[in-house]
Amino acid sequence: MAAKTPEQITDDLLRPLQGASGRYWSFLALFGGVIVAALCAFSWQVYAGIGVAGIRRPVFWGFYITNFVFWIGLSHAGTLISAILRLANATWRRPVTRCAEVITVFALSIGATFPIIHLGRPWLAFWLFPYPSERGIWPNIRSPLLWDFFAINTYLLGSVTFLLLPMIPDMALIRDRAIGLRKKIYTIVALGWRGTPKQWHRLESAMQIMAVAVIPVAVSVHSIVSWDFAMAPVPAWHSTIFAPYFVCGAIFSGIAALIIAMALLRKFLHLEDYLLRIHFENLGKLLLVMSLLWFYFVFAERLTVWYGNDPSEMTVFWVTQTGSFSPLFWLMVVCNFVIPFPILAIKKLRTITGCVIASIGVVIGMWLERFLIIVPSLSHKYLPYSFGTYRPTWVEITITAGTFAGMAMLYMIFAKTVPIISIWELKAAPEAQSHHAPALAPVPDSGAD
């Protein structure tokens, strides 16, 4: 297939913005319905008391904190991957970066709601803000929850900036073609972009700075999320391995989410000529590396606990390896390693479908991993007399479903309002769409610029 002309690229990538099919609206209604149900469930929880959720002593954290860690982890899809690929100057990244960065912004926003949803008195969540108040006290900076508050806000600010910056030239492109109300809206978001050399230069420097700055922030966010657990003297939580283990798991689930999102975009928005097998294959290789790394971390963590033979930790160890949580544990191992490893390691199986199957496994497996870190430890904490158990109620399940629907809906709306593939970046490197462009190949001097 011949490389597309710039005009074709513009037309193809702006097409999703022109009108929506009945299928789009019915999906939107479906997801909207689930979100409304989740809002009702949350309202009921606020009205009746947090007791309508399944959490109980001693398992004070359950689905909500699992979802919190899961979504924050998923948010490492975009900004981190996209920043690393930008800095590495990987040309194949061009069609991938924006759909990755959007996952970050939405997953982070969704994840950040869970610490509020799970509060006993959510209407007082603003007490985490350090503001001079009549109460005369600041928030406690020794608390990892406060570190979370600052880390997540910093990351959200950073990733929103990182998403919006490279959107500016595309916004201007739409502005120049739109009419009516749309023109007014896109004129505002285009921020007066005229495409002068000075503006290009500034955009380039700003993105370079953001790409460098956002990586340590992303790493710090999931380290701090891990410290919510590692700082507490709870068996199998109090571990130095947790920060890198969580960051690895976050990138792992993030890449999986990105592959699923790309496959859906490719199918629904007919982007077969832009999201190519090579992109899935390259991300699949990254996913393979993360799968191996994840397995290594789990193995190292389990081995150290087992060898250390601390009675309280061994209680948690056996309850996950062979006890009541073992079906979930081994399902996690299957989803995170046994399924993805052969699919991604064997070149023949590393197709688009293969990558998607592996990714679905990883997303399920990583959700289970968060659950298995939180619940078995809390339910088997030191004194056997107060061992307990946990079962979610419909409230927690509905709210959890609502956040998945929320993610899907936000993503759908975004893909209909902003070109999900960066048009100007793609035009800058036409060779990147060639079917045969090898990964990380140096840009051939085709004279296209």
Partner: protein, 235 residues
């Protein structure tokens, strides 16, 4: 020097009668949650009598251990609270300010003793039980963590009384409800900063162990027992 309130519980004297549990409920306005919620693990007992069995039937020995907030000097529950609801008082108590609590429940997860209790719903008292509420103890609303305070209202009352009479607090003058109600005097409460107080004397004895002392939480409750559960070095 401020008082350092502490407690000694003699496990060799404890009969597991749970009078302390009842007294605590009455003194501290601890709401009952009903059968259904209790079966879900939502019951609140600031002090509980843990029951352990040793040996094989028919040679079974039952051991009782009353567990309440250990008022740790290095309390894991305190630093994790983002709003200072859980904090260390000058008298060494683990204070819990209900009004500051937003209900993250982090303190309860961090507590190795599982002695923190959460209000999953607003508390209710069937009439006329509302008339027996202790006016010295505030009620806790939904979404708030609560736990044993060493009957801080009694401590404060005793201190104020002593100050009004321009004297020091006498040893044994202040008693939490559980200590007061113990029929076998298995529990002793007093000032650990006074080396001559009964609680200091007993805590120093070679029968004393700290519950989960290996975690370094520095509990201010000392358990006394002749034959140790935790190894022969305490025998």
């Amino acid at each position: 020097m401020p008082h350092q309130w502490g407690m000694v519980i003699d496990l060799d004297r404890c009969t597991g009668c749970e009078a302390c549990v009842v007294a605590c409920h009455a003194e501290n306005n601890i709401s009952t949650v009903g059968e259904d919620q209790a079966s879900r693990g939502r019951a609140k007992h600031w002090i509980r009598v843990e029951r352990y069995f040793e040996g094989e039937f028919p040679d079974v020995k039952t051991k009782f251990m009353p567990v309440l907030c250990q008022q740790c000097d290095a309390a894991p529950c305190e630093p994790v609270c983002p709003t200072f609801a859980s904090y260390h008082t000058i008298e060494g108590l683990n204070g819990q300010v209900y009004n500051r609590c937003i209900g993250t429940r982090y303190c309860a997860n961090a507590c190795p003793y599982n002695v923190r209790f959460f209000n999953w719903y607003n508390p209710e008292w069937e009439k006329p039980l509302n008339l027996q509420l202790n006016p010295d103890v505030s009620l806790r609303e939904v979404g708030v963590m609560e736990k044993c305070t060493f009957c801080v209202q009694r401590i404060k009352a005793g201190e104020i009384q002593a100050e009004a009479e321009k004297r020091a607090v006498k040893d044994g003058e202040i008693q939490p409800a559980c200590v007061q109600s113990c029929p076998t005097t298995a529990m002793v409460f007093g000032d650990l900063s006074d080396p001559d107080s009964e609680v200091s004397r007993l805590a120093r004895g070679n029968r004393g162990i700290k519950l989960l002392g290996e975690l370094g939480t520095l509990p201010k409750v000392t358990y006394l027992q002749k034959d140790s559960w935790h190894g022969s070095e305490n025998a």
